[in-house]
Amino acid sequence: MNVHQSLAASRPAEAFPPIVTDVVAEDAMVRFEAVSKTYPAYRGKPSVTALQDIDFAIPRGAITGVIGRSGAGKSSLVRLINGLEKPTTGRVIVDDSDISALSGSALRLAQRSIGMIFQHFNLLSSRTAADNIALPLEIAGWPKAEIAARVSELLDLVDIANKRNRYPSELSGGQKQRIGIARALATRPSVLLSDEATSALDPQTTRSILDVLANINRELGVTIILITHEMSVVRQLAKEVIVLDAGRVVERGHVADIFTHPQHAITQSFLSEVLGDAVPVSLSSRLQQQAAPGAQAVIRVLVRGDGGDRLVARLSRELAIDAALLSARIDEIGGQQVGSLTLGVPGDEAVVARVLSFLSQHRFSAERLGYVA
């Protein structure tokens, strides 16, 4: 089953050519092939199917987001990628090796090429910053001198060398996550799994951590997989996104494409979280269904792609009407405008009809909400 293709086909193809990103096998860093994961019944609890019919490929060297609500199957997905759990059916290929088929020392060796960062950092409280970074290297059996050199390198990479002898209890959340990132990169992994890594941080710290991740991706070429429930994280960093809901992939593709034309309800709800699609209360409370003489018609226009910023000017100029901007929110996702405008135009029926036809000609989806005096 390929959800993405069927959804892509239902998009207005001429206006927004769907960028189908079916990664060819050799370009994939992580590939799920017909994966499902069912946890057996245990102590009276029924069995739980956490993931079902999962098929996707995550491209090498890119930043890919996996977004879903809690319970969507994100944690299971992470544990399948890093080999902590085995799929019930199907295969999980990481960096060309079938991690779902490995065990023992072969699995441990493969796990060293997968770095992980966590929501709660998971640093050892008994070790200093430098010693925490050294942990995966000790596990991998590196000689002491090489560990010391590598740790210094990593402390510089995440810009936290002045905290090398501090214990985690003496560090802020952002500093702890930098240590976490340095630790994850210690063994030079080819892929970095970020499991809600910014969910416990404030917005400003989140931004700085995302910057660190973007730098790492650019400079080291590490493939990054962002597992998150935060739309803003995916929007800032990821090129492609996989939307999970109830254990299934419901949409996947380029971030701009998916979020300018969300097909699935869950994707739409993620989008409205950042856009705040609702009409302001001060406006909606004054809305009337009947046009009173001299009233303005209120029209809501969805902006998905381009031209939203110039719309008011064009309406006023090309239709020679007085278009007022009542409320607006336009964001940029992957270089595409996404948002909505609420316009006030003269309430005369003929004018409203001209405006609506102008909007539909230019492929804006619009609706008349009512009238305000």
Partner: protein
């Protein structure tokens, strides 16, 4: 109190400390690995072996629920086998160790279970072997709890060591029974009690201090 009696007290204190020190060391030697195993061998855990875990749990509980004085008498043949005699401080180390081991094992299990499961998962995801997880994560992270557990074990052993005195084990308990009780010397009884209180106090204070020193979870400096 005459110098002879004071000498007796000093000698008995030395015997008690010797018994407790050896029994605590041996108890830790056996109890630590058993405790770590108990804490990591349930279903789905690091060394998952639910059957062995259950059997070991029953043995530990059985030993712990036997009153110490009964244990001492019940294992006299075993004590003779190991120590060659059942009388004196040396022999008393055998039952003390047998009582200390399951006690320490349970305390260690508790301290190890306090370690955040996320840290085990973290180390495992880096490809750590189960033994690496134990030595690089579980024991260092549980260290403050382990120190407090051992402190508690030593304090309990001081009490037990006085008890073995009642059955010819030597040490402060022996002194208290023979002089304080049987010869009715309240001064001697008082001296024994005072020395025991001082020892317990010292051990507890030292343990608390050490536990604080190794605890990096607190913001200090």
């Amino acid at each position: 109190m005459s110098p002879e009696l004071i000498n007796l007290i000093i000698q008995a204190t030395g015997e008690s400390l010797f018994m407790v020190a050896v029994a605590a060391s041996l108890g830790t030697l056996f109890g630590l690995p058993i405790g770590v195993f108990l804490a990591t061998s349930r279903k789905g855990e690091l060394f998952a072996a639910p059957a062995a875990n259950a059997v070991l749990g029953v043995i530990v509980n059985a030993t712990r629920s036997t009153p110490f004085i009964i244990l001492v008498v019940a294992i006299i043949p075993f004590t003779r086998l190991v120590a060659g005699t059942s009388i004196g401080s040396g022999a008393a180390i055998v039952p003390l160790t047998i009582a200390a081991t399951p006690f320490i094992a349970r305390l260690v299990e508790g301290a190890i279970r306090e370690v955040d499961a996320g840290l085990i998962e973290t180390a495992s995801s880096f490809g750590a072997t189960p033994l690496q997880v134990v030595f690089k994560v579980l024991i260092p992270e549980a260290l403050p709890g382990l120190v407090l557990s051992l402190t508690l074990a030593v304090v309990s052993l001081l009490g037990y060591s006085a008890m073995v005195g009642a059955v010819g084990g030597g040490g402060l308990g022996d002194l208290g029974i023979r002089y304080g009780y049987q010869r009715f010397m309240p001064g001697m009884m008082l001296a024994v009690v005072v020395v025991l209180i001082a020892l317990v106090q010292t051990v507890q204070t030292a343990g608390d201090y050490l536990a604080r020193r190794v605890n990096r979870r607190l913001r200090h400096r």
